[in-house]
Amino acid sequence: MTKWVVAAFFLGVVGLSYVYLKNQLHTTGGQIKTLEKELSELTVENDLLRTKISTLSSQKVLQRRLDQDFIKMIPIAEERIVRIRTDARSEIRAVSNEGSEK
C-alpha cells in the first residue's frame, strides 16, 4: 500500500512540476517578448536620436547657425598663423623629452 502511495505522490509531483515548468516557460517567454519589444523601442529611439544628431551637426544647420551668429566664429587672420615646414617637423622635440633622456 505504501508503495502505491509513494508512486501516486511521485506522479503527482511530476505532474505538478510539469504544469509549473510549462507555466514558467510561458511567463519567461512573455518576459523575453517584453524585453525584445523594449530593445526594439530603444533601437528605434537610438536611431531617431542619431538622425537628430546628424541633422543638427549637418553643414546646412551649422551654416545657418553661423549666419545667425548663434555660433561665434571668425576666420584666423593669415598673420596669426605660424606654418611649420613638413621637413622641419623632425627637428621639433617636446621639452619634457629633454629631461627624460638624462
Binding site: L25, H26, T28, G29, G30, I32, K33, S40, V44, E45, D47, L48, R50, T51, S54, T55, S57, S58, Q59, K60, V61, Q63, P75, E78, E79, R83
Partner: protein, 605 residues
Amino acid sequence: MKWTPKVRATIACFGLVFIFSIFSGRLIFLQVVKHDQYAALAAEKHSTKEMLYARRGVIQDVNQEILAQDVPVRLAFADGSILNDPAGLADLFAKPLQMDREELEQELAGLQDAAKQSRQAKLPGVAPRYPAGVCDHALNKRAFVSEDTAASLLAEMKKRSLRGVFFKQDFTRNYPNGSMLCHVLGILNHDHAGVAGIEKTFDAQLRGNDGFRYFEHDRTGKELVAYGSQGQPARPGCDVRLTIDMALQNIVEKELEAACRQYRPVMAVSIIMRPKTGEILAMANRPAYDPNAVANSRERDRHNLAVEAMVEPGSVFKIVPVGAAFNERLFTPQTTIDCGNGQFKYAGKILHDHKPMGELTVEGVLAKSSNIGAARIGLRLGDQMLYSYARKFGFGERTDVALPSEVPGAIHPPYTWNKLTITRMTMGQEVDVTPLQMITAMSVIANGGHLMMPQIVREIVDDQGAVVKSYPPVEIRRVLSEAAARQVREALKGVEKKGGTAVEAVVPGYIGAGKTGTAQRVGENKKYLHNKYLLSFIGMLPADDPQFVCLVMLDCPEVKNPEDNYGGAVAAPIFARIAAKTACHMNLAPQFDPMQVALTQTRTK
C-alpha cells in the same frame, strides 16, 4: 447459442473493440494519412510570417559626415478580418495618412466585406482563407507616421473601441543637408530603391537583405514565445563613403547660390577635383531640389547637370590644341602667331577675335584667348591630330564616374567635318562636352599630362565598419608629356595676369592658372545667339603644384552691362572666392604675403 453472461460480456467486449477500432482508424487517418494537409492548415492558422526590413546603408562624406540615412517610421496596415468600424477608422486615419476620408472608408469597407465573404465560404471546421492582403493591407505606402503619432493614434483607437488598423516598422530616407549635394546623392522611389545618383549606382550595396521570421500565435493573435520562432535576421546594407568633402561642398554651394541670386542663370555648375587622384571634392548644380521633399520638385531640377548637360565649352577647349602643339613640339610657348588684327579669312568665312590682336606668342594666345591664334594652331595640327588629342583628353566618351545617366558628349570624327570645323573646334564650338569632362581635361594639365578617372566613391564599408571595397585612383592614359603639361600650365598663368582674360580670378597670396570660356549659345533656329552665353572658368591652385582644380559654369546669366558678359568677368570672381576658401580649408601655405606685395606696389608708386 445461449445468452450466458460470458457470451454477452464477450459480445460487449468485441463491440467496444470495434467502436474503438473505428476511432483509432479515424485518428490514424487524420494523423498519418492527412498529416501534411492538416499540419499546413494548422500552421496557416497559428503561424505568422513577419518581414524584418533591412536598414539601408548610410552615405557619408570623406570625413564620415552622414549625408543620407534611414529613419525608422511606422507604416499603417489594415486587417479586414477584425475591422469593426470603417467610418470611425476613416475619421481617425484620413488626415495622418494624407488620404481622402471617403476613399479610405470605402477601402476599409471593401476589406471588411472580403473577409466576411471568406468566412461564409469556409469549410466547416477549417479556418477561413482570406484573399491576399486582406489581413495586412498597406493603406498608403507613401504616408509614413512618426513613432509618437503612431502611439497616439493607437491610444485613440483604444479609447474609441476601434480595431483593425495596426502599424508596422519601416524606414524612410533622410538627407540631413537638404538640397546640398542632392544631385550626387540621388533619391529613392516608394519601394525604397535608388532611382538617381549614388542611391541608384550603389543600390545593390546600400540595400541590404530583408529578413523574416515565422512565429506561433494564439487565437487572440498573441505570440507564443515558448514555441520559439524560425527565420533569418535582416542584414543591413553597406555604407558608401564618398570623396566629397562637405566643408568644400558648403563653400561651393554658398558661392553658387550667391551667384544665382546675382545673375539668375538658366543653370549653374561648380566642381572641385583633386587632379592627382581624380577625386571629386565638391559638385554642385543649380537648379537644385530637396530630396526630403521630392514631390515638391520639378523633374527637370533633378538632373545632375555636371554629367548630363552637353554644352559647347568655348575657349576652355583651347587647352587641347595648345597642349597637342606643345606635345608634338610643333610650337614652343614663345613661338609667335599672327592673329591678323582680329580678322582671319579662312574657307570663305571671316573668323573674329573679341578684340583686334597682332602677333602673339602661344602663351599669349591662351592668356588673351585668341580664337584666330587657336585656329592657326589647329590648322598646323591638322584634322586627324586635333581629333585624336580631343579624344585623348577624354572628350566624346563617358568618364565612367560612379554617377548614373552620364552622357558621353559629342565629338564628330574628321570625315564628317567641313572646312571650317577645325577653326571652330579649336575655340570650343562644334563639340559638345559635359562639365565633368571639362574639369577632367583641365586636370590633365594640372597632373603632368596624366588623365585620371573621376572618382566620387572612396570605399564601401559593411555594417561592422570593415572595408568591403575601396576605389583607388585610376590612371586612364597619359595624354601629354610632363614638359608639355608644364608649358600649358605656365601659359595658363598668364590668363590671371595683367592683360589676361581673367585678372579677377587671382587668389591673394597664390599664383594660380586657369582658362576662361565664353561660349555662344545656340538658338532654336540652330544659329548662334549674340546675347546668350555660357560663361565658365576652370582654374587650378597653386599653379606650380596644383592641389585642386575648380570649375565654375553659368548658363545665360543676366548681366547688367553687356560688356561684362564673358567668363573672366562673371565666372572668374566666383572661382577666386571658392579657391581662396578652398586653399584655406586645404591648409595650402600662401606662396607670398599679399600684404607685402600691396605695400611694395604702394611704395613703388
